[in-house]
C-alpha cells in the first residue's frame, strides 16, 4: 500500500505554505488521517505541503477573556496534558482522551482533526460545544469562523483549498459544567456516537446549554431540542432525561457496518442524559 507519487514542500513560513497550496494539494500536519488515505490511494494529491515546521502554530495560551488560544499544530497529547486546558476547557481534555492511542495522539494535531471533520470524531464536537472559532489564514489575510459555520458536512469544512487552519479560539468556559460521553466498539476507536455538553448555570438553575452529538449526523450537530429543555430550567434530577427525550429530531445518524441509525439515535439519547447530568453536577454553584 504505497501512495501515488507527489511533490513535497516543507514550508518554513506561513506565506510559503499558502503559496504552495492549490486544488490538488493536501496539507500534512499530524498525518494520522492523511497518510492512511495516501497509502490506500484514496487521495492522490499532486503536492503535499508539510506545515509541521511552521513556527508559532503550536501551543496553548491563555486569553485575556478567560478562554484559550490553541495553535492548530498542537499535538493531541499536548492538549491532553496542558494545565491550561484542564483548568479552562476540561471538556476538551476529556474528548482528546478518547482519540486513538498514544502514538496517534503524539502526532495528530487539533487543527488536523478539526480540518478533517470526521463526523464521528470527538474533537470537532467538543470544540463546537465550547463555541470555539477557527482562525484561518489565506493569501488574502485571516478570517475567523465560528465552528457552527466551519463544520459543513462529512469531511467538509469552510476551509478553501488555498487556506490553512492556524488556530482555535475557545471562549471563556470557566464555571460551565461539562460532560462528555461516547460509545465506541473498543477504546480509542471512532465513536459509534457521542455527546459533548457544556451547561452554564448555577446550583439551582440552568441558564443555557450547548449539546453536541457526534456520529449522529453528517457533522457534529447541536441538539437544539434538548438544549431548549435545559435553557432556563430549574436544575432537577430529571432534567437530563427530559432533555435526552428531545434529541431524536436533531439527529440524522448514518447506517453503516458498525451500527444502524436507530441504535445511534438511541445512544445519543442515553449519552445526552449522562453528559447533561455530569455537566450539571459540575456547574459552579
Amino acid at each position: 500500500m504505497k501512495p501515488a507519487p507527489f511533490d513535497y514542500v516543507r514550508a518554513r513560513t506561513l506565506d510559503e505554505a499558502l503559496a504552495a497550496l492549490d486544488a490538488d494539494s493536501k496539507i500534512l500536519a499530524g498525518g494520522q488521517s492523511l497518510v492512511p488515505m495516501l497509502n490506500m490511494r484514496l487521495v492522490r494529491p499532486t503536492r503535499v505541503v508539510d506545515i509541521n515546521a511552521l513556527p508559532g502554530l503550536d501551543g496553548v495560551r491563555a486569553r485575556a477573556d478567560g478562554g484559550l488560544d490553541i495553535g492548530a499544530l498542537t499535538r493531541h497529547s499536548d492538549v491532553l496534558t496542558a494545565p491550561l486546558v484542564k483548568e479552562r476547557a476540561p471538556l476538551l481534555a476529556a474528548a482528546v482522551a478518547h482519540v486513538g492511542h498514544r502514538a496517534i495522539r503524539n502526532r495528530g494535531t487539533i487543527g488536523g482533526s478539526l480540518a478533517h471533520a470526521d463526523p464521528a470524531a470527538e474533537l470537532p464536537a467538543a470544540l463546537l460545544a465550547l463555541d470555539a472559532s477557527a482562525l484561518i489564514a489565506g493569501r488574502g489575510g485571516r478570517r475567523r469562523v465560528r465552528l457552527d459555520e466551519f463544520l459543513v458536512g462529512a469531511l467538509t469544512t469552510a476551509l478553501r483549498a488555498d487556506e490553512i487552519l492556524i488556530g482555535i479560539e475557545i471562549p471563556d468556559a470557566r464555571g460551565a459544567g461539562w460532560g462528555f460521553a461516547e460509545v465506541a466498539r473498543r477504546p480509542g476507536d471512532f465513536a459509534i456516537a457521542g455527546v459533548a455538553a457544556l451547561v452554564q448555570g448555577g446550583r439551582d438553575r440552568c441558564d443555557s446549554a450547548r449539546l453536541v452529538a457526534f456520529g449522529a449526523h453528517e457533522r457534529p450537530v447541536r441538539l437544539r431540542g434538548a438544549e431548549s429543555v435545559i435553557a432556563g430550567a430549574s436544575a432537577s434530577a430529571a432534567l437530563g432525561e427530559q432533555a435526552a427525550a428531545r434529541t431524536a429530531a436533531d439527529c440524522r445518524p448514518p447506517d453503516d457496518v458498525h451500527a444502524t441509525a436507530e441504535y445511534r439515535a438511541h445512544l445519543v439519547r442515553v449519552l445526552s442524559e449522562q453528559a447533561v447530568r455530569d455537566a450539571m453536577s459540575r456547574t459552579a454553584g
Binding site: D7, A53, A103
Partner: protein, 157 residues
C-alpha cells in the same frame, strides 16, 4: 520535488538520505538503513507493529513520510537494545514469555518504554490502556502486561 533530502539521527547515528517524498519512515528504516527490527503490519496506523520513538515520543513509522523526520531523533528497537544483552524491559519480556512470534514485540517495547518513562508504577489497567494501540495476535496480552509490571518494579529499584 518528488524526492527530497532528509537529515536525521537514528539510534544516535547521523543519517542523510535523498528519498522519494512518498517513502514512509518505516521503509526508510527497514530498507535504506537495514534496521529491520521495525515491522510493518497494516500501513494504516492501527496495528502498532511499526511503533518507534521520534524525539522520545511514540509514533507510527508507517504514518510518517521519511522526509518529515528532518532534524529529529528516531529510536527503534535496535536503539532500545543495549550493546550487550537485553535491557531490563526486554529481559522482563523474556522471563514472562511476553512474546510468541515476536512480530508485535518491537512496537510493544517502544510503547512500554514510553509508558514507563512517564509512569514508574502503572497499574494493570493503565498498562492495558497504554498498549491497547499495539495489536498482538499470539499472546492474548496477559504476559505482556506481567512483563511490563515486572520491568516497572525492577526499574524502580
Amino acid at each position: 520535488m518528488t524526492v527530497a533530502r532528509v537529515r536525521l539521527r537514528v539510534n544516535g547515528h547521523a543519517v542523510e538520505r535523498t528519498v522519494a517524498a512518498r517513502r514512509s519512515l518505516a521503509d526508510l528504516l527497514r530498507e535504506d538503513l537495514g534496521l529491520t527490527g521495525t515491522h510493518v503490519g497494516c500501513e494504516h496506523g492501527v496495528c502498532g507493529a511499526c511503533t518507534v520513538l521520534v524525539d522520545g515520543r511514540t509514533a507510527r513509522a508507517c504514518l510518517l513520510l521519511a522526509v518529515q523526520l528532518e532534524g529529529t531523533e528516531v529510536t527503534t528497537v535496535e536503539g532500545l537494545t543495549p550493546p550487550e544483552g537485553l535491557s531490563v524491559l526486554q529481559e522482563s519480556f523474556r522471563e514472562c514469555h511476553a512474546l510468541q512470534c515476536g512480530f508485535c514485540t518491537p512496537g510493544m517495547l517502544a510503547t512500554a518504554h514510553e509508558l514507563l518513562a512517564e509512569n514508574a508504577a502503572p497499574t494493570r489497567d493503565e498498562i492495558r490502556a497504554a498498549i491497547a494501540g499495539n495489536l498482538c495476535m499470539c499472546t492474548g496480552y496477559v504476559n505482556i502486561v506481567r512483563a511490563i509490571e515486572l520491568a516497572a518494579r525492577r526499574l524502580a529499584r
